[in-house]
């Protein structure tokens, strides 16, 4: 157990931001898909894992980490292009819970595909050489990869926010979250918007998978582990809420990270305690209706 000092607290805080940004990034796609299509994407975590493995293979072949990031995003987004039109589209007219069950089936399929391709044993993913140093940030030395990761995830979140705020497609997506039928009756081809949002959402999860792979290494169940935490993020943040996903991702990341100073096993449970407390006191979530 870490000794409780100012520098250890600072490290925990930064680790909390680092983990929280990954949670937020994965949860954003989840919240968007949920808000727009009323689908709880159970396979979201496995798209994250798929991205991590795509990135790993690319990095092994080319040694270029930035290419790995791109392949992680594009590969997963393309697989979304198969899942959404072929399977998910049939579920929109049905009760939302059936979409969840369908995606659970997709989760099982992706899980086994990952095990078939990359094996069931965990694979270490070492931090790219250029980023394997420590940076002196005044009080402490902090791994430069973590700083890189925080920067990349923050830029992505900013980029996504600008996309949703500043473009016409972003406007349509936000309007769709508010009232899907209204947007449809205004003559927008909603199907294309759905496909785009799904691919974007899972693609970002895939990219988050590549970014976090050097921190947590690769194993087939990595998607399942992050999925439930991201669902808690969405439950706390409110569906379809971009802001909610970022705030509650950061809050949960910090809570989980700081609790490791207090008592190590607490880190895994504190997220659920937060959820229980919110349900008691504020069942609608941070930015819920």
């Amino acid at each position: 157990m870490a000794e409780f000092t100012l520098s250890s607290l600072l490290i925990s805080l930064l680790n909390g931001v680092s983990f929280g940004m990954i949670l937020a990034l994965v949860a954003m796609g989840l919240a968007l898909i949920w808000g727009l299509m009323e689908i709880a994407n159970f396979a979201h975590g496995n798209f994250y894992a798929l991205g991590a493995y795509f990135g790993y293979s690319t990095y092994m072949m080319t040694g270029n980490f930035f290419l790995a990031l791109a392949v992680g995003f594009l590969g997963v987004a393309l697989s979304g292009l198969v899942v959404e039109p072929v399977l998910l589209r049939r579920m929109y007219a049905r009760p939302p819970i059936e979409g969840l069950l369908l995606m659970y089936g997709v989760l099982l399929i992706i899980f086994d595909l990952i095990e078939m391709t990359w094996g069931s044993v965990g694979i270490p993913f070492s931090i790219p050489k250029e980023l394997a140093s420590y940076i002196d940030i005044g009080v402490i030395e902090y791994p430069s990869y973590r700083i890189f990761q925080i920067a990349v995830t923050a830029l992505l979140a900013l980029g996504l926010w600008l996309f949703l705020r500043g473009t016409r497609i972003g406007l349509v997506i936000r309007a769709g979250v508010q009232d899907r039928q209204m947007v449809e009756s205004l003559g927008v081809n909603v199907n294309n918007v759905f496909t785009l949002t799904f691919c974007l959402g899972v693609g970002i999860a895939g990219l988050a998978g590549v970014v976090s792979a050097p921190l947590f290494s690769l194993y087939p169940a990595m998607g399942n582990d992050i999925l439930i935490k991201c669902f808690v993020v969405v439950i706390l943040g409110g569906i379809g809420s971009f802001k909610g996903a970022v705030y509650s991702g950061l809050i949960l990341g910090m809570a989980s990270s700081i609790s490791t100073i207090v008592w190590l096993p607490l880190a895994d449970i504190v997220i659920y305690l937060f959820m229980a407390a919110f349900l008691l006191l504020k069942p609608g979530g941070l930015f819920g209706e």
Binding site: W34, I97, L101, G105, L107, I109, F111, F231, I269
Partner: protein
């Protein structure tokens, strides 16, 4: 058609006859199927039936029912490990498991029933993961990843009359069969009582049930607790049969399994979940005999069932019979 008098009586008789057929199938199952599969089908039929109180009858999806199955199993195992009791009183461990699961369902049900639909499914899932983590990290008591092993066997005794040491799988199977069958009858009575009628009305139109003066939230919680208690019983019996308990009883794959069983058999139909449990365990066992990739096949089956056979097998049988 016969007179209405005899129509009523055959309608009443039909479930009794069906229950007797189910019982007979379970009596002969260990001689037809490999005994371990028969024992699994027995326990998971009860689990699926308990889950279906919420899923098919009340229309809410809990995606964390492994919590109650696992709490039942762990409750029984912890009791068997730590209670300093004579062997003839060890059957109390089943009660311990049931009560622990019921208590868990009470707390988690109270919290998660504040939301509905997708939210509820995910909140129940999160709570079951919390229980999973507690059992994983509390190594001193729960054995962590190894679970609790080498549990003592139950002994039944009426002094001076007989003593039975439950040390053979087949003895435990028939003990479990008796308990499961009694539980199935109890569940039948519960589901087709006024209580069952109310929870099905909640499924069909929650608001209207509220307007009729029923305390909807309380009925929901009661159904949740009942489901938790019977799931816990299934878990406790599973532990008694396996003679060990491990984390897979709490794994969310287990929660998914019970949804799948109920879905395949048909929710809300009483015999559907039993049929679904038998088919699911059968399929999984046959597949895993040939290949390690059972998940992908189960996943494909699930996708097909959701897309094309939403009412499940028993639902389809009912439709074909025109009911």
């Amino acid at each position: 058609m016969a007179t209405s008098q005899s129509l009523v009586s055959t309608e009443r008789l039909r479930p009794t006859v069906s229950l007797i057929i189910v019982a007979l199938l379970f009596v002969f199952a260990p001689y037809i199927l490999p005994p371990s599969i028969a024992a699994d089908i027995l326990v998971f039929s009860l689990f699926a039936l308990a889950f279906d109180i919420l899923f098919g009858h009340m229309g809410i999806v809990s995606f964390g029912h492994a919590a109650y199955f696992g709490l039942g199993a762990y409750g029984a195992a912890l009791f068997l490990t730590y209670a300093k009791l004579p062997p003839t009183l060890l059957w109390l461990s089943i009660l311990a498991g049931v009560l622990l699961a019921g208590g868990g369902a009470w707390v988690f049900g109270f919290l998660s029933l504040r939301r509905s639909g997708l939210y509820l499914a995910l909140i129940t899932l999160a709570f079951s993961q919390m229980v999973w983590f507690v059992m994983l990290k509390w190594t001193d008591v729960t054995g962590g990843e190894n679970g609790l092993v080498n549990l003592p066997t139950l002994v039944f005794q009426i002094p001076g009359v007989f003593t039975v040491n439950m040390n053979s799988p087949i003895l435990i199977y028939y003990f479990n069969f008796v308990v499961v069958f009694v539980a199935m009858i109890l569940l039948y009575r519960l589901l087709y009582s006024p209580f069952g009628l109310i929870i099905r009305s909640i499924r069909d139109n929650e608001e209207r049930v509220g307007f009729l003066g029923y305390n909807v939230q309380r009925y929901k919680l009661m159904a949740f607790i009942a489901s938790g208690l019977f799931s816990g019983l299934a878990g406790a019996l599973y532990c008694i049969y396996q003679r060990f308990v491990a984390l897979h009883t709490l794994d969310w794959i287990m929660s998914g399994d019970v949804v799948l069983m109920t879905l395949i058999g048909g929710g809300g139909t009483y015999f559907g979940p039993i049929l679904g449990a038998a088919i699911y365990i059968g399929i999984r066992d046959i597949i895993s005999f040939y290949t390690a990739w059972w998940r992908i096949i189960v996943g494909v089956i699930l996708v097909i069932v959701i897309l094309f056979f939403r009412q499940g097998l028993w639902g389809m049988i009912n439709t074909l019979r025109g009911r």
